[in-house]
Amino acid sequence: MSVQTALILTLVIPFVAAILNMVLRNHDNMRDGMTFLASVLLFGTVVFLVSNYNNNANQAIMLLSVMPGLTISLNLEPLGLLFAMIASGLWIITHIFGVGYMRGNNEEHHTRFFTSFCVAIFATMGIAFSANMFTLFIFYELLTVSTYPLVAHKQTPEAKLGARTYMGILMGTSIGFLLVAVVWTWQVAGTLDFVQGGILDGKIAGAMVPILLALYVFGIGKAAIMPFHRWLPAAMVAPTPVSALLHAVAVVKAGVFTMLKVGIYIFGIDFLSQTGASEWLVWLASASILIASLIAMTKDNLKARLAYSTVSQLSYITLGMALATSMGALGGGMQIAMHAMGKITLFMCAGAIYVATHKTKISEMTGLGRAMPFTFIAFLIGSLSIIGIPPLGGSWSKWLLMVGAADANQKFAIAVLMISSLLNVAYMLPIVGRGFFLKAPVAAPVGAAVSPTSRFAEAPLLCVLPPVLTAIGTILLFFYAGQIEAFLLPIVSAQQ
């Protein structure tokens, strides 16, 4: 198998899976089994790409030429490979969890759900391997569209309202700002290709640089930088598997991934650093980190709290880009992986709790830990990774960002990172502390799966196993983070 074939396959596999999902709509087990197979195949393909990746060879493929210089093309680069690997790997786990959740929870419209899921993965792969901003934009919009039915899945008025907010902000910002920025970039640079070191150096100067950057930053609504973050909490009306994969991994990471791509390959870290164009973004990202954490503290709904935590954690990545140092950019890339693994664990735990007890409020989860120890231990590990406690993956991205901030001489950003960790402790660990060490105000927790032989009341295995696996994943990431860093290093080293 050549690299090019594999690259095409990453798009073909989820696409075909989407079609097969519709074909097999009346055979639940076959359909879900097939999707599982597809997810494994996709992950295998991405792993193949990663292992055969050669930084120097040009492996681009052009799919379609819209007009001269404006093409839909795919290419390989470390950041995209990392993103694709995370998204496809976690797709396997989320799919297992999703099947357990949808069945355990007696949700309806399974086919529509899993089909949209496949399309979303298709779009995510497209984003990850885009060779230029135009391609990325197309897939970016496709991702928004394909996740809309997932957000509105429950079809209640509340779900529709949430989905409308979701669509409104993501579409609005992407058309209102991002498209303008893309067109502008094309106008001045004559190309939209992602090039090491950026394409704008010498093409644009003065006050125009920060303005263009602002158009990008606010246009990439999926990165949920304040004040365009509202869509993310609004999207929490979706079933938990959607929140887990899409709103902790694929969609939001597509946003910050785009942010990093723009910073590294459109502007170029050095160009940003010389012009100081991202100085203001350091402040905005910092504000976003802190304010979102403060809001998260006030939320009693577990998923809402996690959503605001995501808003805060995504801004770490934006911050990493805005620092305009190689360590910062690396830290941002690392945070994509670390946060994905940690946050998906937390969401799946929230889902498992919901399946087992139908509880969504943190205040009602007191004492649940003793009945659901595996879920809560996984939640603890996920939280600690988000906070940045060793030996969990999250600590390395915090470390790199701190070093990046030190390099940029942004002592303020270091303080923000420190305070944010403490805020994370304050809003994450109470769930574990109350869950394990306090007694529920009313008798025993109502478990959907209480068996007479066991004192545990965990959710079905398919819901509990995935978060346990990803929790183990956060531990492994601590020890293998060095490999990721080495893999990502070309994105910043080539320009020095």
Partner: protein, 567 residues
Amino acid sequence: MAENFPVAFLFFAGAALLFAIPKGNSRAIFLLAVPVAAGLYIWSLPEGDLWTARVFNLDLELMRVDRLSRIFALIFALAAFLGNLYAWHVRDRVQQVATLLYSGSAIGAVFAGDLITLFIYWEGTAIASVFLIWARRTEGAYHTGMRYLIIQVGSGVLLLAGAALYWRETGSLAFEAMTLGSLGTWLIFLAFGIKSAFPLLHNWLQDSYPAATVTGTVILSTFTTKLAIYALARGFAGTEILIYIGAVMTVFPIFYAVIENDLRRVLVYSLNNQLGFMVVGIGIGSELALNGAVAHAFVHILYKGLLLMSMGAVLYRTGTAKGSELGGLYKTMPLTMIFCVIGAASISSFPLFSGFVAKSMVLSDTAKEGYYIIWAALLFASAGVFHHSGIKIPFFAFFAHDSGKRPKEAPWNMLLAMGIGAFLSIAIGVYPAPLYALLPYEVDYSPYSISKVVTTLQLLLFAALAFTVLVRTGIYPPELRSINLDSDWSYRMLFPRVIGAVSRAIGKIWTAMTGFALRRVNGIIAGLYRTHGPEGPLARVWPTGSMVLWIAILLAATLLISFIDLA
């Protein structure tokens, strides 16, 4: 290389194995075996950097063995053994696992040769230890644990930030002696300062330790603060500001200790005061003073553990450790009382008890180096220690007015643990040579001269005289059911009120703002729906009507940009 694996791994493996061992005595034996094995292993280790691990493209030194790290590791292993013996009866797996992880992390941290390894274990002690507080399983303990955790993790992130700055500044991550000056070193200093309970950074200590379980407090009292003392000795020996910080630390907690009602908290105030002596020793930084600080940490772990064990035994048998509720227990808990008195004599540094052979090193060096006021403060603090830890604790628990409580003597395992602690406290006091042989520097010091013994006895017994006179005349403040405000009032009462008010205000403004924006956006979307798309099933393909709109916008944008460019 493989034979000199990090000691901490022994504890972590033990924690993992614990799940396979059935509840009961076999698990209790296992919990004793782990620290014994670790202690023997540490004893046999050669000096040097024995284990380097490459993680995240950094070379982490996990086993820097030298005289300084070895003595701390040894006493930590010994304390873990005594703590687990004391907790023999505990069947709560959470506490058992937490104890192993906590002591393992503390030992790992003293062997850390670089700041990253130190950070890793530093946070490890923070996370593992909170479970000993939460394990009390009450609402109050939960909240106390959260406060404790935030402060402990705060110390960790300060250390991390300091390490990042320090690395970029010096190019080295090695954990060696540092000079205060840059922001990086100050942050590291502050991180150490929090854990060693510097004045105004101290309150997590008094707040949290008495809130732990009976056995948890004993275990907590050993590790975190002494780890910080080790870190200061390693990183900031001879930093003059430490002398003044330490002197304040020795003095102010004793005032609180006099009026505090919870006897376990009295002991924690005195723990804070004892740390002050060590900090002064580190600040002076001479070989004698450093030896003194380290020796003091060593014996302190034993006698402070012993005192907390005795109060824990009282709590275990009576359900309270409050001075106002206790008294007259000597008849039914005589052994516990005697062990408590031995601990009290040691902490007060009576001749022939362990405190004497360690504390006098620091004290005499302050005078020699010319810090007269510091010397006077330490002397005052020594008398004060005797007052609250030496007399108050045994007096109000076991004598004073008869509370009518007739609890049974402590269980055998507690008595045994206390007995060993008491034996060691006396043994070291009588024959300090083996301890001196372990200290980081050559010891040329003899604690027992007639002059020293007599002056010490004068100081202590006249302090006892003052106590007697005050109690007999009724001037001595009675034990009352009460608490005393300390600096934690700021973050437990003041800040929450301020922050609460501010965040409510921000929340309101935020909701108003986003609500307004959302209504606008929703209005636009609703409009688009009405004009461009049917309210069809949700899964249907995006209406083509809006595609047209997109293209229109795209073209408009292009036009706009071209105009800007032309202009």
